[in-house]
Symmetry: C2
Subunit: 197 residues, 2 copies
Amino acid sequence: MVESFKNYLALYASVSEKEYEELKPLIRFRHFAPGEFALMAGDVCNYHFFVEKGLLRSYTVDPGGKEHIIQFAPENWFIGDRGSYYFREPSGINIRAIEPTDVVMFDQLFVEKAMCTSASYAMFNERLLQNHIRQLQSRINQLLSASAEQRYLHFIETYFNLTLRVPQWMIASYLGVTPESLSRVRRDLATRNQKIS
Amino acid sequence: MVESFKNYLALYASVSEKEYEELKPLIRFRHFAPGEFALMAGDVCNYHFFVEKGLLRSYTVDPGGKEHIIQFAPENWFIGDRGSYYFREPSGINIRAIEPTDVVMFDQLFVEKAMCTSASYAMFNERLLQNHIRQLQSRINQLLSASAEQRYLHFIETYFNLTLRVPQWMIASYLGVTPESLSRVRRDLATRNQKIS
DNA sequence: CGCGTGATTGAAACCCTTCAAGTTTAGTGG
DNA sequence: CCACTAAACTTGAAGGGTTTCAATCACGCG
């Protein structure tokens, strides 16, 4: 067992070994095989997931049956549906494994306990929330203003390590374009770079 | 003075009259004329704004000089740039009055004091954050999946009262389409409704 | 090998934008 | 109260970026 969750909390939330041991009974470890669901749309999201190893994705399915990827979660990322989790509503999103994935699952009880146990955990939690908002905001901004090519360039710049692990059609879905369009964008970028050199 | 901020806090954050009086020295009242800036891109966002009367909007300006509206804030809404505010970074957004607007301005000190003074304020603040995330998420989802017409229908459904106060080109900007496109969408909707009746 | 999934390519269609007129509306000063 | 102006909204025609649909290619795996 790698226990990267422990290391992560120590590093970013200053949770000591002793504090972690207190909290450990409240968390659950689980494995997901590729394609397996961690959350199905319609269910209430009872857990947040921390990815120790592997890769998850969250996505919605529109009325036309098309998937739209909300987020990828590789190692040391959190994923879940805060809206559903916090307001106890059925979730509109699915969370599913891309690779074989080991996660830590934790719920509201854990968060409350952690905030009591470790003073810095509350601050960490706040920072997580604020950062999440910042990231969502920036994505909205991009969807409003950038072309397919600009979005793709921004994606590989920001998540370069993912481009090798995620099938291309999922990246297209994340960017809000069709797989065909992304393929053409990539071809045009490649031919343009050839001409330059 | 209407003091709708006081009423709002009493209603949603269970802040008593006495608690409010304690906090009042930390807030600032201000008026903005139409077109006036409450925050200019490049500055750090030092305050959150609560709109007592009037209407604000926040927007970004892309490299091509086009405006993209992030949010409208009518009476009893909060507006600000959480990212800039929390991480102390220069903001990328402008906040500006559409109508003559009275606001309450408050900063981190107010929030911290409020959380100490009123136990329920912390919960309220958390709910505000979570709700914000939920709303951003839903907007991303819509930008990924909905056509101009669907977005417009969703907008008038959700913010009907705003459609009468906000110029149409700003609604277009919020939806991520050109004013011309929105005009056509509206015409098509109108003629279609005529045929039905 | 053959199957399935993902990636690519082409051609046509579609939605939306752009640009360039008009038209309407609202506000201002005579 | 009207005339004038500027801004907002509308409309048309042309163009661009993306999608759609269909076919083909590439690859990994039972």
